[in-house]
Structure formats: C-alpha cells, structure tokens
Point group: C2
Chain length 465, copies 2
C-alpha cells in the first residue's frame, strides 16, 4: 500500500497562481506564461512577480509584486521562470509565503551537470513542504481547470479540447509535439504534465495521482528513466487494473540511453527490465510517437472488445486485402459471419458484392450500402470489432457516408474504427469523424495494431493469457 | 534476355485517344474520363465514342463517333468504359480500326467469376495485336503526357505534379489513395498505372517498361499476385541494378491471400517465395501504405549514402533520444564526430549545448544555430547521413529555419531528412520543405527506417553483404 507523497490538487486545480519571472517583454518565458493564463480565462487569483519592478506596477494589466512574500494571500501554485541561479532564493521565498506547490520551468540544473544546484532546490522544497515539479520542464496544461504553464504560444502549439486522455512526459519536446498532435487529431485532453528532471515529484507520483484522477480515462507516458523502481512497481501493479497506461520509453537502445542521460540526467537502466515490468503489469507499449497517438485515440473513444474477431467493410478491394494481412499480423482474426448475417447481406447487397469478410462494397458504395452493411454486421455475435474502410476518392463516398459512420459509432456497442487515406477531401472527412469520437487511421496497420492493443488489454484485465 | 512483349509507348504518350463509352451524363465514368483529358489540356486528337448518339453529335464540345471504325484516323489509345458484356464487340471494332493500345476500365470479369468473358477479350486483343491493360482498373495517369484515364474527380483525388516516381498498382483503391497522398506530400509523379486483373499486360511487362523509362527514377509497386513467375524473376534480376523498386505485397498472410483472390482473381502464392525473390534481387519492402510513401519520398529526393553513420541535430532532447533508438533499431548507427568537428562546434555553440551526437541545440535554437551546426557537421567525413529534427513549437523555430534547411538540402551531397511533428504551424513548414525536395517525417522511426532502406539499397548495388 502506497500513500501519495504529495497533494497535487493545488497544482492541478489552483485557486491562486503566482507567476515568478513575469515580464512585459513578449520574448520572455514569464510573459508568455502569464499571457496564457489570461488568454485561457483562468478565473482564480493571478499574481505576476518580478523583483525588478517598482511597487504597484502592473504587468499585462495585473498588479505585480516584487516577491511572493509581498502578496500576503494564500498561493496554491507558483510557476517559476527565472534563471537557474535565482531559483533557490525564489523558492525560499515561496516557502516563507506558504506556497503549496511549485512548477520550476527553468533549466540549467542536473541536465547540464549542475547537480548541486538541483539538490539545493530539492532541500528547500522539502524544508517548506512544497510539492515541486521540474526543474527543466514545460509544466502543466489542463483545459478544464485552465492551468497553462506552457511557454509556447498557441499559434505554434495548438491546445487540445477538454477530454479524458492524460499525458505525462519527461521530455518537454516530446510532450509539446504530442499535445499539438492531440489537438490536430481532434481528441481531448484531461491533463498534460511535463516533469523534466524529476528532482522531487517524479513519474511514480504522477502515475499514482492520475490513477485516482476522475477526469483521466487513459494515461499516456513518455519516460526516459524511473527514479524509484520499487515504488514504481507498486503503483504499476495497481494502475492497469483501473485504467490503461500507454507508455513509450526513450533510451531502449544503449546509445539511446546515453542520449537520455545527457538530456534529463536519467539513468535509463536495463531496457529488458523495463520491458518485463511493463509487460507483467499490462502496460501498453508504444514503439514510436505514431503508436502513442494511435493507441491513445482508440482507448479514449472505444470500449474494450470481448474477443479478437474483426469484421472489415470496405469500398476498396486492395485496402481490404492489406487490412486482412494487418489483422493477422497483429494477432487478431477475421470474424466468420453467421448464416443469418450472410442471408441478410445477400438480400440487400447488389450482385457484384461477394458476401464474405472483408465485405467489399465495391467502388460505387454509397451511404445506403454502408448503412445496410453496418446494421447487419454489428448485430452478428461472431463479430467483436469492426474496421470500416472508406476511401473518399471513390464516386459514392461523401459526407453522407461519414455521417452514417458517426451515427453507427454512437449506436454500436462494439469497438469500431475507420481507415481513410488521402489528401484534402479525405482529411476534411477524417476530422469530421474524429471530432465526433470515431477513431480514423491512415493505414491498415495503424488501425489493426490499435484494435490489437484494445484486445490485449481486455485479456490482461480479465486475466486471460 | 527478355524482349518486351508490348510497345507501351502509344499508351503512355498517345497522339490520339478514343474514349469509348463517353457520355454527356456527368455521373458516367466515360464522362469523367473525357472531361479529365480536356481539363488536363491533352493536346493530341480526342475522339469520344458512344454507339447511342446520332451522327455528327458532340460530347463536351468534341465531335463524337458511334464506333471507332468511323474515325478513320490512326488511334494510339482506346479507353474503354462500357459495361462488361459490351467490351468484346468494342474491342473487336478497335482491332478493325487498328487501335494500337487499349485500357479496359470496365469491371465484371474474372474478379466476379466471369473468367470466360475475360478470356474472350484477351483472345481479341491477341488476334488484333492490341496491347490491352485491365480489365477492372483505373488505367493510367501521366502528368507530363497529360494522359488521365482516372474516373475520379480532382476535388476528391488530388493529382500530383510532374516528378520521377512511377507507381504501378494492381488495386485501383490502393493506387488512388497513394496517388492522392503523393499529391499531398508534395512530391512528383512520373507515371501511375493501375492494371487490375492483368489479363494481358501484367506486372512483369510494366516493371520492364518502367525499367527503361527515362522519366522514372523510382518504381513503386502494389501487387497481389504475379502471373508469370519465371519472367518476373528475369526482369527482377535486372531492374534493381538500374533503379530502386519499392514493393508492397497484398496477401502475405493466408487470409489476406484469400481476400486477394476474391479481389483481382490473383493467386497470391507462397508468401515466403515472394519474400525470397524480393530480398535476393534488392527490392525494397514496404510493410504498410505509410512505408510506401516514406520510402518513395527519400529515394526520389536523396542520393545514396556511402555508409550507415548518421548525425542527428535537434532542438528537442526527447525526440533526439527516440531518434537515437530508431537509428539503432533500424540497423544504422550514430556517427562519431571528428575532433575537428567537435572543436568547430564548441567555438560557435553556446555553453548549454553539449558537443555530442545527437547534437541538442536546445529549445531556443534559431536559424543561426541550425546553420552553424549543419555547415560544420555536413563536412565531417565520419558522417554519411543527416537527420535534422525541427520542432516548430519552440520559440526559435520558424520559417527562417525551414529556409535554412532547404538551402543546406540543396548544397549538401549527403542524404538529409527532417523530422517535424505537429499540427497546423508545423504542417505549413513541413509542406514548405517537402515541396523544395527535403523529405520530412512525422516520427523518428519513419525517418530512420527510410534512411535505412537507402543504406541497404546502396549495399545491394555495391554488392556489400
């Protein structure tokens, strides 16, 4: 049994935030962070802090302070964006002002060999009981509580809508690109946490926090190293029973591990040991950034299947062939349609359609044909999951087909994903379907591997080996 | 030694085209094809043929004929889009009119069990010595000669610009989606050939044709089966010595092979036998549609490397770590920078930058820092290939960095690719770089696996095992 080391609630849902290092200069990190809070419509108290201002001055319209100690009001979260050498003093002041939590954005600590300076700020955080995230991180983004410590402007990095996927990243770079992609793909975010050097709060604390977080349905992690192996395993044992954890590990090769050490001073450790732990406790492994997105999308929107039998409906024969290959390569199988299903399909399908799985609706398939196929096949008890291929290049495929798929997605209680590959016309329809909660993939392997992870996780949860 | 069975030149560069089944009804395939020719600005003679019109009528402004036999002029290519049962008669007339080549778009032959009808049209083609493509195919697109038999409208399927990649696809669906993606990714097409049931002209003929085609630098193939195994091997032996062939095989699993049989009546055959042939003769294997694009892009724009030592330049540490992993997983290695390189880098890089490979330029890297790094590293004799990671979410990365990368791409004689992951702001810059000939990938694995294929092909060509 583990007890959480930190109360992270004041960090994730703060009523009052001090931005230390706030500035009027738009090129400064402290400026961008303050502006983000204002733009996001943060409705708590906001206190810019900058030791170089005169008393009573304002920064971006907010009354500013020279030190957190001057604020004289409770502060849930201090976001610290001052040069590394100034961090100890600032943190000391936070302690005196009884600040509950701190996010240290500043870099220049263990990752560049400044271990001593890093140890110093950890000591201060401990002394004053401040839950400290970082240093050398992007911090937190939570579209629901409107916390946004990211110093990257919104025109460069799109912010996702509110959702149920939480993403914990040791790397700010990987974190920010994934955040940007989540926004692009049209699915939603619960919490984003970039934790950098993990000097105090680490991946185990964050994993445990998200395990209990009601808003979070799916946890996604990018990690380079694990600080407290034993404790991590304790949490890992429990978390996958509660919700899926998708993990990508940086530094799985020897040379990658060396690069990781130079990046966040992580000791990446033995790759096989990680692999064994992840496998034993039902973590979902992503091999690349693509996978991370593919899997997060399907776990966010789909329920778990009850088996590995897949029905494929397509308007392109070749794509149906490649999808069949991908299904078997990923450990799934084609469903055998029941006699009833075959009979019903034969009644409504034109004679050119072979009644088999994959069901090739032919190049002129329209919304009626898709609709007929889906309403019959979704009822078949031999079918656990459905892949619908819609190639929008063909004459019959248009918005009405996309709408029909969205309708069935909302009314079928089996996992269902789509494959649509192509340029502008396709992308428009892809976004239409994805923003309505239907996962759409560009390639057969992306779709099949995502469903395979759903199936494997279902087996893990139900102790089927 | 093989002699080409067909002269495909009149099909690929026709001076005169008859569209049989041309129609005034925009929903008809024959209408779309005729319109495509007109829209593309085809400058040869164009003859719409429709047996139901009255003499002297026009279709889309072109004088129409009731039969090719009425045209009384030489016809290089007949595009046939009439119902399957009418094809034999139409083809017979083509023979009498001495039409040189024919593309039979119409479906309804062996792929739906109508083997007899298919045999019949092959007999007619043989009798009159007509080089016949299809049936059950999309036909040909060639942006240079303005041949476009695709019946898919341009708003649904973007047409690529003129380039050096030729794509042969047994499946119309796979073909059209890839064509659409080629246009989206901003690289260019030499010839697109969808050959469907391969009743007469088959994959071996097309491969041999493209081997000799001067416009084609890279050949990409989607195949489900091979009709003439022995002859294919004869061509395969020669082609990879001349130019790279990227192949994706549909039906590599038993169930996929069954689906392929139902699709194009292909006997997919033993998967391991295909695998062995492809490997022996230096074909580049794509496992999924994604790969096909990734590899085509890099072979189209890059020269071959002279080794497997990769330099990585990045503005995101975590992405550098993942790229290092991907490099080793794909059989490449990190280059050891020379002492000279390290000394030069140390002179110009700020102190926060560790002089090592991957070279992490830090989150505030701007065009100057990228430029300094590239000009030094590109000269290092220990470096065979370069991966440049630009995360456009970061403060310093903007269009000037993209421009700098394009400049170096044009001035460095080593393979160089970029990784940029993200939404709108990133996509804009990605397109900017790709349309200037720099391949850009979304993920570390996509970039590393593409360079690995370049390296493997270089080894094949130089007989290094």
């Amino acid at each position: 049994m583990i007890f959480m080391r930190f109360d992270l609630n004041p960090m994730m849902n703060p009523k009052s935030v001090a931005v230390i290092g706030a500035s009027r200069d738009p090129s400064k990190v402290g400026h961008v962070i303050l502006q983000n809070y204002i733009d996001a419509g943060f409705d708590g108290a906001l206190y810019p802090v900058n030791k170089n201002i005169s008393k009573g001055e304002k920064i971006i319209g907010q009354t500013a302070y020279r030190s957190v100690t001057e604020i004289k009001k409770p502060i849930d979260l201090a976001v610290i964006a001052v040069p590394a050498p100034a961090v100890p003093e600032v943190l000391e002041e936070c302690g005196k002002a009884k600040v509950k939590t701190a996010v240290v954005i500043s870099g220049g600590f263990a990752e560049v060999g400044n271990v001593e300076l890093q140890n110093k700020i950890v000591e201060i955080a401990k002394k004053y009981n401040i839950a400290m995230l970082g240093p050398n991180c992007l911090g937190i983004m939570d579209p629901a509580s409107k916390v946004d410590t990211l110093f990257l402007p919104t025109y460069k990095l799109s912010r996702p809508k509110i959702g149920d996927v939480s993403f914990v990243s040791q790397s700010g770079a990987v974190g920010s690109t994934i955040l940007d992609l989540i926004a692009k793909e049209g699915f939603g975010l619960a919490k984003f946490i970039s934790y950098g050097n993990a000097a105090y709060i680490d991946e185990t604390d964050l994993l445990e926090y998200l395990m209990h977080d009601k808003q979070t349905k799916v946890i996604v992690m990018y990690i380079e190293g694990i600080k407290r192996g034993k404790e991590f395993i304790e949490v890992a044992k429990k978390v996958s029973k509660v919700k899926p954890v998708i993990v990508i590990k940086g530094g799985i090769t020897e040379e990658g591990a060396q690069a990781a050490h130079s990046h966040t001073a992580s000791l990446a450790g033995n790759s096989e040991a990680y692999e064994a732990v992840f496998k034993q406790f039902g973590f979902i492994r992503a091999k690349d950034l693509d996978d991370l997105l593919y899997f997060a999308k399907v776990f966010s929107s789909e329920d778990l299947p009850k088996g590995n039998r897949v029905a494929v409906i397509t308007n392109g024969g070749g794509t149906g062939v490649l999808t069949t290959d991908a299904i078997y390569i990923n450990g799934l199988k084609l469903a055998d349609f029941s006699e009833e299903t075959k009979k019903e399909l034969r009644k409504v399908m034109p004679s050119i359609v072979n009644i088999r799985n994959p069901l090739d609706l032919a190049g002129d398939a329209d919304e009626k044909r898709y609709s007929d196929a889906l309403s019959i096949i979704s009822k078949d008890e031999n079918v656990d999951m459905i892949i619908v291929i819609v190639l929008f290049q063909t004459p019959g495929a248009d918005s009405s087909v996309a709408e029909k798929l969205i309708y069935f997605k909302k009314n079928i209680d089996k996992p269902m994903v789509a494959i649509s590959t192509g340029a502008d016309y396709t992308q428009t329809h892809k976004l239409m379907m994805e923003s309505s909660g239907l996962p759409v993939y560009d390639s057969p392997n992306a779709a099949a591997s995502s469903l395979a992870e759903l199936y494997k996780y279902w087996k893990y949860k139900n102790k089927i080996v």
